[in-house]
Amino acid sequence: MPPAVKEKSKNVAALPAKAPSPRKLKFQADLAPSEDSMVRILKTELQMTSNTDFLSDALALLRWAVTERKRGHHIVSESSTGERKILLFPRLERVAPEMTLPRVDVQWTEKELECLAELASGQPADPTDALIRAMRQ
């Protein structure tokens, strides 16, 4: 899951004689120790020294992934033996055209969420006879 990112705007003193330059944004990310470690390892592997370059490349990769899923393309890795793995990333799937059902927000009470979490994390129930008939229809 991506870390929470706080956006900070840089305070720039206005200079009336010059045309305003494009404003740069500064990002501050709250990373868990494991994520921080992952960033360091990736930077080393990719021979990067700056966080700006790291974020820029990560952004380019994410942008590409979003564009591809918007076109309905799947993101696939293929091994040398032809074994394929398809990337399924829930946030990315939200932009996929196959997802034809529109999204809505559901209002939940705390108790309903407890109950939902218990049911969703448990073993699925056996199908009822009516359900089996419904799926056979």
Binding site: M1, L88, P90, E93, A96, E98, M99, T100, L101, P102, R103, V104, D105, V106, W108, T109, E110, K111, E112, L113, E114, C115, L116, A117, E118, L119, A120, S121, G122, P124, A125, D126, P127, T128, D129, A130, L131, I132, R133, A134, M135, R136, Q137
Partner: protein, 180 residues
Amino acid sequence: MAVTIRRLEESDEVEGFDCGDEPLNNYLKHHAWTNQEKVSIGVTYVAVDESAPRTVLGYFTLAASSVPRDRFPKKFVRGLPPYDLPLILLARLAVDKRFNGRGLGHALISEALKITLRVADEVGCRCIITDAYPDKAGWYARYGFLPLEGAAATDPQKMFLDVRTIRRASSIDSFPAERD
């Protein structure tokens, strides 16, 4: 009757629809098309008969939703995957009262569950949730929907059906009557 279930179309005749519940009638007549085609907050599927292919006999509405992981009480998240919980909302299901008792409700929920399974296979979805009137909760329970406790007194009963249960049902070859 030779019933077909398909997406609601603009030229469908909905004015005469009467399921005996004014909010459900009103939704079909005044909001279903707009919500489907203009603001995209729900897709409505209608049951029509071959002999009158524009007259709506019953309908249901589906939408996608999810529960952010951080909304769940902390002590309950341990068994859940580390993502938001994607789900399908069966927002409405109604049959014209003139056609009650002909299996239309069964045909509609059957189609809704098959769509749920297709969506789950395509993009991932963990469960289907419905808002049931209290007097209809027993009907949904026959299909395996389980009540989610904790609804406000004036709200409908939320009910849950696991996609894994639906998938298991779809993989059973024999009719229940043929088993055992």
